[in-house]
Amino acid sequence: MNEDLLTPDAGGLYCQAGDFWIDPLKPVPRAVITHAHADHARSGAGQYITARDGVPVLAHRVGQPEDLQALDYGEPIELGASRVTLFPAGHILGSATVRIEHDGQTWGVSGDFKRAPDPTCRGFEPFACDVWLSEVTFGLPVYRWPDTRQVMDDILDWWQGCIRDNRPAVLFCYALGKAQRILAELHGRIEAPVWLHGAMKPLTDCYREQGVAMLPARPVSEAPKGEKFGGSLVLAPPSAAGSPWIRRFPRHSSGFVSGWMRIRGNRRRRGYDRGFVLSDHADWPALINTVADMGAKRVITIHGNGEVLARHLHDQGLEAECWNLRQTLARPADNADSTPA
């Protein structure tokens, strides 16, 4: 039997054949980065390899690496004894899945991915592999996403209600990916002022510079003194909820855009008025369909709540298991320094 091409290590995955890590959370000599979210991309690696579309955002997040190799999607490179190819993951701008070929085996690794269309990034492209390592952020059948169009209609309705009542519409969403996706989805559908929390400005600029068409938006810091933001859409990261910053928007209605909003208790607990179910991750049906699209006989679930999906796939006759990558962080950092050459 072949040995596993990848093993959990340094909070990510280590490939001995190619002597590289995928999405390590600790400093390593060579890192393949699937995308620039903080739970996948960290500073301190000796060398970075990432998809070309993702370079500006990654550079913004981890600083401009000295040694950075940008790969086009579908363009293979040789790393050690392995061949590595990146494919679009459809998660955020420049996100990738990784194909690793070595010794007759093909492994596919997802960072995060989704199958729903997104105007800000290339759509997910399946490829054949023997083993598929799938993220499982939303690994329960209760997570099924409504049509994006429907969700955007709901957001527009809510915003227009706020315009009628002359109240600020404060929409919380992740600063990288979701904010830009919303601005791109709204592009051409409405003309009204949009303001951005400071943390979203540089990332949104990155997207614009790469030609993503989005609704114009200004940072809140540029608003005139005494501005009440009535009828304006204000995008802010969830961390701004309950902070003093939010006091700038008296009488606002709040919404949160996330896959977690599928569950009512998640919204009520956070005290948002409205929850909009729009995710950059695969929902339960997409997770299962992707397993089929990849043609994998063995599935390893990573990132999130993978036990249920693994059991379900096992019931369907596949070889399936759940790996906990975080557990490798609890161990002393041995591999980072003393990797076999």
Binding site: V142, I263, G265, R268, R269
Partner: protein, 530 residues
Amino acid sequence: MKRFAALYDRLDGTTATNAKVAALVDYFSQAPAEDAAWAVSFLTGRRLKRLVNTRELREWTAEASGLGLWLIEESYEHVGDLAETMHLLLPPADSDDLSPGLAELVEQSIKPLRQLDDDARKQAIFRLWRQLGGTERFLLNKLLTGGFRVGVSKRLVTRALAEVAGVDSALMAHRLMGRWTPTARFYRQLLDSESDSDFEQSTPYPFYLASPLDEGPDALGNAADWQAEWKWDGIRAQIIRRGGQTWIWSRGEELMEGRFPEIEAAAEALPDGCVLDGEIMAWQNDRPLPFAVLQKRIGRKKPGPTTLKKAPLAFLAYDCLEWDGKDIREKPLQDRREALAEALAAAPGLLESGPVVFDHWDALPDLQAESRGRGVEGLMLKRLSSSYQVGRKRGDWWKWKVEPYTFDGVLIYAQPGHGRRSNLFTDYTFAVHDGEQLVPVAKAYSGLSQKEIDRLDRWIRNHTLERFGPVRSVEPTHVFELAFEGIAASPRHKSGIALRFPRIHRWREDLSIADADSLETLKALLEPGK
């Protein structure tokens, strides 16, 4: 049903009280009376009798969704609300064009489920699931599973109805008390703008509730304007004597028919047109018995002679709301006390919870300190000139409770909560030392901040030792200070004790598990012979 679902969406889509009232007002002024009557019923917390058991509902959800039953269970554990879980898992409805009204749905489709055999019931529910989409199906599931909490309080519903009817909200609260059936006729009476609409004879008055006193009583002004009473730890109840009949209502608006025969018998001696407010207590030899004794009576619909003997009760009256057939709630407390004295003179089987005499505020702390020894929770302070108001109105009635008991316990089990706490480990079990072992003594759900809950949730997920269904055992690490109101011996519990109202006071991160209390310390609080 579409209109009711739209109301639900509006209520659910805002956290602002005024917006909720506005949504209710819109609905109540527009909805057909027969639908609005049911809406009032559900929104004020009344439930339909359980028509389908939840095991069946889970199995049918599995069948309708094509998912294994274990996936339904995993999902339920994650979502924390069965109605919502079913809604999220069921396949989309065929088309929701044909949507019945709320009253039609309840009366034609839901209530008849009880008469159907298992198979027909299942087919009927599958039909409803295919017929209703979106929020409507979620609400249907809520009705089927019983509970119906949507973030509006009965107070808000009362306020909105009062606004629609153009009457005082105290009158509306009164109209919503007691026995009524949700019919179009009832709804029209509810909205009657005349203030003297006929009440059914058994209808109780809305209870007046005291507010907790945060500082010392001397801040209340002149002591001579106030009356002190002991605060009893029993069942708040209203006795109604009208037309030769007696009704006893609990504060939860449950009719206590037949449960307290000795009190009903004593109340027979009251004159007609008399309503008393007071406390049902386990009572013997002129003093309270522990709450655990009263618990033997709660839930006993028809207590037998042995129970009556083992758990004797008394009614301690402290207010009179109706005398000689007249509503005297607007009269000052001192006048109502006079009526009360007359009433009790006629019915000596009922006891009076009389004033606790004091001359000066300085005397009160010492009296309050006697509470535990007397088996009471503390003192009540009532303004002598106060009318009997509706609900919790600050200003005239205060409760001044003694400090609770506390102990330090170790977190050993955790379970996900429900509703807004779904998908979070918020139901905790705490243990104390018993020799080499840790023995569970209390379950507690409240007392931590959202930040602490989130942090503890993450810790629990990472430090789970074993899973038993939804319950996880965790490494005994964290110590919490818990407060409780009382303790009783309990052969049903492994620890041999039962604590009353345990809740978390604070997270004692400065303590290690060795610092937690022992079972021995807790048992020392048990009064001898009880």
